[in-house]
């Protein structure tokens, strides 16, 4: 379990760093585009398309972190009413389900990306499109992995009878 949790934590760290880097680029470059357009009647030709793809990347990194922090949007009122023990069982079930769905979404995006690789389509600056959309399957893969690891982590604690760990309170 330990090495898996180690990998899991590194996914979170790397996503965090790249997210900050990409969001920084996004803020500066999108402002630059407005300035160029309004004051100099020009703009970076590939800029807007590039920025929109950057949103996908930042979004998937954000979603990777959301998975670890259990901050995906969900209906919570029922889970707040049940005892912690039940809440934890709910958590394990929903995480396994989420891991499965994300795995299927990963497969779906792999076949989408494959189609684009085969058709040799390019996006901007003659760069292949799949460079930009590769994050979709990678994102789902990491998210699926994290959902799975987190529920497994909790299942492994069941024999210890350790239900009352502080983490449960935040579910």
């Amino acid at each position: 379990m330990k090495p898996l949790l180690f990998i899991d934590r590194w996914f979170e760290k790397i996503s965090g760093w790249l997210l900050i880097l990409f969001l920084g680029i996004m803020i500066v470059m999108s402002f630059g585009q407005v300035v160029l357009r309004n004051f100099f009647d020009t703009s970076i030709e590939w800029g807007d398309v590039f920025l929109r793809h950057l949103v996908l990347w930042v979004g998937y990194f954000g979603a990777v972190i959301a998975t670890g922090e259990r901050r995906h949007l969900k209906i919570e009122f029922l889970t707040k009413l049940v005892p912690l023990k039940v809440r934890k069982i709910f958590f394990i079930i929903t995480n396994l389900f989420a891991a499965f769905i994300c795995y299927l979404l990963m497969q779906a995006s792999i076949s989408f990306v494959q189609l684009e690789i085969e058709s040799e389509s390019t996006l901007i600056l003659d760069l292949p499109l799949w460079y930009f959309i590769g994050i979709i399957p990678v994102g789902y893969a990491i998210i699926s992995f994290r959902f799975a690891i987190h529920s497994l982590g909790w299942i492994s604690e069941i024999p210890k009878g350790d239900w009352e760990i502080e983490e449960v309170q935040h579910l």
Partner: protein
């Protein structure tokens, strides 16, 4: 039979707290596979998001809102509003209302306002002799007012999904947004009068000082609203300017946020929300195309129109439906129903822009609906009161807001006048 079991399983999974995007994803995956279509189609639809210019506005407005929320901007807004309108009867209540509305417009609601601003103004309200019940109700209610004003994220999401121009929606939201605030303001003035809240004379010196404090943030609403309404900017350009400007002002001028510690933390924090929204949007794009392919909206209309023959009756049902949906889900999740209701509403002759305003006004109120509206939970958590207490305090506000909702719903001109 098979389908019935799957539907039942999904309902249980939703109720025990599955991330909503996994449910939407599951339905899309099942739907496409059942039709024998490669599930890559879902991702093709998801990727269509990247062709919409407004996609870029989502992270930019979100990060700007988070920068503002984490800075001392809330204190500055409250100080200014208090200096300018604190002298009026019920003035402080209106201060709360206006500050919260501006703040919610920037942060997109979902409880951030209650946490950031509510905690700030609640003790002031009590110190000024407003009753605890009224104060609690007001702060809870104010947490979602302002969603109809630019640059509100829910408006942008509605526009993305309903394929309606964001700029028209921003224009359409102004009058209904003001009406929602006006009814609460009137109610507050009346309550303030009843409680004999002390009034402060206007102090020009104090007002000038508050104005100087906030000088760098004052231009924000003006260039966003002015820029969009004046046609100088698109919503996406306004987002780009706002994000950059807020970053520079909060980090280098006010120095409220530290570059190496606060900025990365807030960036991450805000993009977690964007990531969560993107997951839902992506899967919902797939689901939408499946539903349209199956002509579900058409069938839904045929089914509904047998029972619901008049437009008025449809609007009543729509309001009830949205209040329930909005109570159970967050605004960012409730957006999923948009592609279903837009075509049906069109058949009843309801303009998609007006529908957007109805949709958001309903969700604004739904946040307050007992027993499970999100603001009730946020308030109960923030002010350490039971859900029951918060709900009881909020109830009169809900009733007043429903009057406004009826006006907004049944007089479309209020929304559409500025658009045409």
């Amino acid at each position: 039979m098979n389908v019935l079991i799957i539907v039942l399983a999904l309902i249980i999974l939703v109720l025990i707290g599955s991330p909503l995007f996994t449910i939407i994803g599951a339905i899309s995956l099942y739907g496409f596979s059942a039709e024998g279509i490669d599930t890559a189609a879902i991702i093709i639809e998801l990727y269509r998001l990247a062709s919409q210019p407004v996609l870029l506005a989502i992270p930019l407005f979100t990060v700007a809102g988070y920068f503002l929320a984490e800075s001392k901007a809330p204190q500055r807004i409250v100080a200014l509003a208090q200096a300018l309108i604190g002298w009026m009867p019920g003035g402080l209540a209106i201060v709360v209302l206006i500050s919260c509305a501006i703040f919610t417009a920037f942060t997109g609601g979902s409880g951030v306002t209650i946490v950031a601003l509510g905690g700030l103004v609640f003790p002031i309200l009590l110190a000024e002799k407003y009753s605890e019940k009224f104060s609690l109700g007001l702060v809870t209610t104010s947490g979602s007012l302002g969603l109809l004003f630019p640059p509100s994220l829910p408006i942008i999401l509605y526009g993305t999904f309903a394929e309606v121009s964001i700029d028209s929606l921003f224009r359409a939201g102004i009058v209904p947004g003001i009406i929602l605030m006006l009814v609460i303001a009137i109610y507050s003035i009346q309550q303030g009068g009843k409680a004999h809240v002390p009034r402060h004379p206007f102090d020009a010196k104090k007002a000038w000082k508050a104005l100087k404090e906030i000088a760098w943030e004052i231009p924000l609403p003006f260039f966003i609203i002015g820029g969009i309404y004046g046609g100088w900017f698109t919503a996406t350009e306004a987002a780009a300017v706002t994000a950059f400007y807020v970053f520079v002002v909060e980090v280098f001028i006010y120095k409220d946020l530290k570059f190496f510690t606060d900025v990365p933390r807030v960036m991450k924090e805000s993009m977690v929300l964007v990531g969560a929204i993107l997951m839902i949007l992506g899967c919902a794009m797939g689901l939408t195309s499946y539903l349209i392919d199956q002509q579900v909206p058409q069938k839904l209309f045929e089914y509904i129109s047998q029972v619901v023959t008049s437009k008025i009756f449809f609007l009543v049902l729509l309001n009830i439906f949205l209040l329930i949906i909005g109570m159970m889900m967050e605004i960012f999740s409730a957006i999923v129903v948009v592609p279903l209701i837009v075509p049906v509403a069109k058949q009843y002759g309801i303009d998609p822009v007006h529908l957007g305003i109805i949709f958001l006004a309903n969700l604004e109120i739904a946040y307050l609906m007992p027993p499970v509206g999100l603001n009730l939970f946020m308030s109960s958590f923030r002010f350490k009161k039971s859900i029951g207490q918060v709900a009881a305090a909020t109830l009169p506000f809900i009733l007043v807001l429903i009057i406004a909702l009826i006006i907004i719903t049944y007089i479309p001109e209020l929304s559409l006048w500025f658009v045409q």
